[in-house]
């Protein structure tokens, strides 16, 4: 009886990527983080207030990184792709979005990473998660530049 109850509790639990985890080959190829660089993968959505605040700062950090060694990738998890694209365009028009974006309307990518909150930012090197930042950080641009130095 005890085993049955435990099994039921475990059904549906999601395994989230954490520091030290290796991401699947399929996912690495899908989001294009299977090269030699350090990849900074940021999950955001148009409805997430903290994400809106962070995106211009991440773009600011993107101007100051060595593109041959580091790439920032944004994953837009808006289920309404038109809304997501409009949000991205408005940011681009203001010069507040200058990195590659992958749209994830089916939430397939974020379901595999399964972060515990939004926004969440992953540092990936050699398909391995080498750092995770969950939640909003006031000076995320400086934080990214510092973290990149550590993980390079």
């Amino acid at each position: 009886m005890k085993h049955i109850i435990m099994s039921m509790l475990l059904i549906g639990s999601v395994y989230a990527y954490e520091k030290g985890d290796i991401i699947s080959d399929n996912m690495a190829a899908h989001i294009g983080c299977n090269g030699e660089k350090v990849y900074v993968v940021d999950f955001f959505a148009s409805w997430c207030g903290s994400c809106k605040k962070e995106l211009p700062l991440i773009s600011k950090a993107n101007k100051n990184i060595d593109k041959s060694q580091v790439e920032i990738i944004g994953i837009d998890v808006d289920k309404n792709i038109q809304k997501g694209l409009a949000f991205q365009e408005s940011l681009k028009a203001d010069g507040k979005l200058n990195f590659r974006i992958i749209n994830d309307p089916q939430n397939l990518i974020i379901s595999e990473f399964a972060p515990i909150g939004m926004p969440t930012l992953y540092y990936i090197k050699n398909k391995t998660v080498v750092g995770v930042i969950t939640g909003a950080v006031d000076d995320i641009d400086e934080q990214i530049l510092q973290d990149i130095k550590k993980v390079k």
């Binding site: 009886m1 409805w47 998890v77």
Partner: protein, 71 residues
Amino acid sequence: MKSTSLLILIVVLFSGCVKDVKPWEKETLAKNTMKESGINPIKKQFEEHIYFSKEASKGGSGVSGGGCGCN
């Protein structure tokens, strides 16, 4: 045995009603209309102002966070 089977049946039947809302599924919860004050934050501020004046106290209401699931 019958009670155990019944318990399992109940758990299985009702498990469909307790799906977790994942952080990336909180679009609806993040809307202004889902806030206690509704779409007009001034209304809530006004009500709180009256309450604090009457009770001679302040704070202790609401929660932090913007509904994005980051707190």
